[in-house]
Symmetry: none
């Protein structure tokens, strides 16, 4: 199958709707992008292939998403829906739950896009910036876990909230990047939340 990215749907040609963005076109393009990644994998994801499948002009793609990475990011944002974090009653339980949630999401074909976004961001400054924005937003959202724990007076005070959030994210991303989404979320949570050292004779005042 050298050509044909089988735009199977006959899908009547989309004309311009005047000097402004055509939502139908945008939808067709993002849908095509998601489908290609899910079906063929990221290696077959190219501007060319997306345009072919969406029956869109390449110029149209480049008009709205100047790079492959930007399109990838847009496609990811269109289909992600993680929802809120469950309240298990303990910080450790909450951390395990959020990890499980993420691992499940990323294990799905569409969710797999995210690791390729991180990969592409290594060579694409624009995408890196977009990813950084997204990352900060996720970090913020992780803070609710910590806030809940604080409200429960669960925290030791040795570690700041943002630091905790970063550590959770680090564990999640590592497992994503190395393809270990079947990891034991509870074990990871315990590793993070519990102290590694016996804090009886704390070697000094914690900060």
């Amino acid at each position: 199958m050298p050509k044909s990215d089988d735009p199977s749907a006959p899908e009547e040609k989309r004309h311009s709707i005047g000097a402004r963005r055509n939502p139908a076109t945008e939808a067709a393009i993002l849908d095509a992008a998601i489908e290609i990644v899910a079906e063929k994998g990221i290696a077959r994801f190219s501007m060319e292939a997306v345009a072919r499948r969406a029956r869109a002009g390449k110029a149209t793609l480049y008009r709205w998403w100047p790079t492959r990475g930007a399109l990838l990011m847009a496609a990811y944002e269109r289909q992600k829906q993680i929802g809120g974090y469950p309240d298990t009653g303990t910080l450790e339980g909450d951390v395990a739950a959020v990890l499980r949630l993420l691992f499940d999401h990323w294990a799905r074909p569409e969710g797999a896009i995210f690791r390729h976004i991180i990969a592409a961001a290594q060579s694409d400054a624009d995408l890196a910036a977009a990813l950084e924005g997204y990352r900060r937003e996720r970090l913020d959202s992780l803070t609710v876990l910590v806030d809940r724990a604080a409200a429960r007076r669960e925290l030791s005070g040795a570690v700041s909230g943002p630091d905790m959030a970063r550590a959770i994210m680090a564990m999640a991303w590592l497992h994503l990047m190395v393809g270990r989404l079947d990891a034991d979320a509870e074990g990871i949570a315990r590793t993070l939340v519990r102290g590694w050292v016996a804090d009886t004779p704390s070697p000094g005042p914690a900060v």
Copy 2:
């Protein structure tokens, strides 16, 4: 020489040395690979460019390194040299030291190759396998920190050694991938080593 990746050294032509691998050729290729990444960035790193710069035939490259990723990995291994981990007397200090070591290494142009290896491994199964092997080796080597702490009777026992090693690696990789190699190693170490919750009256059975 159509495009001149300026193989500046005239570098007398390397002929075959018989029916066996020519070390001079291998060296020239790996050197060219490292230089290209350092000078032009990963985007300009291609089998074509390496062959051009090393004055080598493309077939020679493919003979020894079947994929771009394999060559990248070989180039990385040729120049890395992290050395042993210092003994600071506490686990937290040791963790901070190893993070600082890694961050410094990765901040150098040659060190930057590593993040592109991780990125490339997302689309290259062979490279992913090679990276996984390398990762396990590094995890093992991190265990010495934990062993030293155990010998000092520093550990609480709540978390296993391999789990700790994985957490350290996760923090390191996250900062590598998001370009935050200027992060506070001591703060990260504290976040990992100290417990997040007050473990006196555990508020309930942890799952």
Copy 3:
């Protein structure tokens, strides 16, 4: 028929034959070029279409023929075969014969390429140079007519041989460019060869 330039012949893939030009590839490309012009017309003649039909990579085309015009010229030279000029016994007869020969040649689909070469040369300096070389060669070959006439002691001496050749070519090209290849060759020959003015009281010494 959006894609498929129907490379109808299955035509087993042509591999490289080493670091040198593959004659089979060259032949396939030139044949494809000629066929496309003959079947679809010059407007459908594009590097893209030729590559598609010849089952050749575009890079291969550009390697040997850097511009559309160069390829057009090569295709024309491959199929032209005008042969020698007949000897009718008089200069006027010879001129008429050569015009008739040219008109017939150009009226064939492949012959029609030539007018597009002249057209393309208007915007392509390289092609213009190639065309100029070809034009001089044809001018030289037209001189044989004049030489035969001189041998017959037919000439008046008022006009030089090269000037006559240029005039013959001008008449031929004009009719080609304006699509009047059905013109009366004998009439044109008479117009050129006979004097327009009564040369009884020649208004002065010729030259």
Copy 4:
């Protein structure tokens, strides 16, 4: 204005003047066309570029000039002004004068458009028809030379007036198409007007 064809004049926006052609718009478009050809050459002449430079909508261009060729022709007609032919007293002198006039005109940047019109007509039937009309008109106007010569009783009668006009045009166009506008107009005139053969004892029946 994505590419800036530097519509240097700010040139207050031209609005519609109701349901009829706006002469200011037409003028701006034709001026832009002429300028682009003169400044950038024919290769950079495109409907897109003209619209950009004239600050006109592309639809407006297509409304009035359905093809690139039509616009080219209109632009040429807008700026040509050859004027009448001088009377030198002999046919040969008149022919030389008209050739000199044409060569001078075509040598100017605006005049250079004409050869591209001829070129474009090779692939554009509409333009070819327009050019043919223009050509006939020029042929007719050349007849005045012949009529003057006839009035002077200069002609031999062997060649018809229209045939002479065609021959003059052929010589002019050839030199235009091959970029030889510095040619010797007098020599060309002599080649046409004088007979090539000694017409005393015609060596045999022509043809």
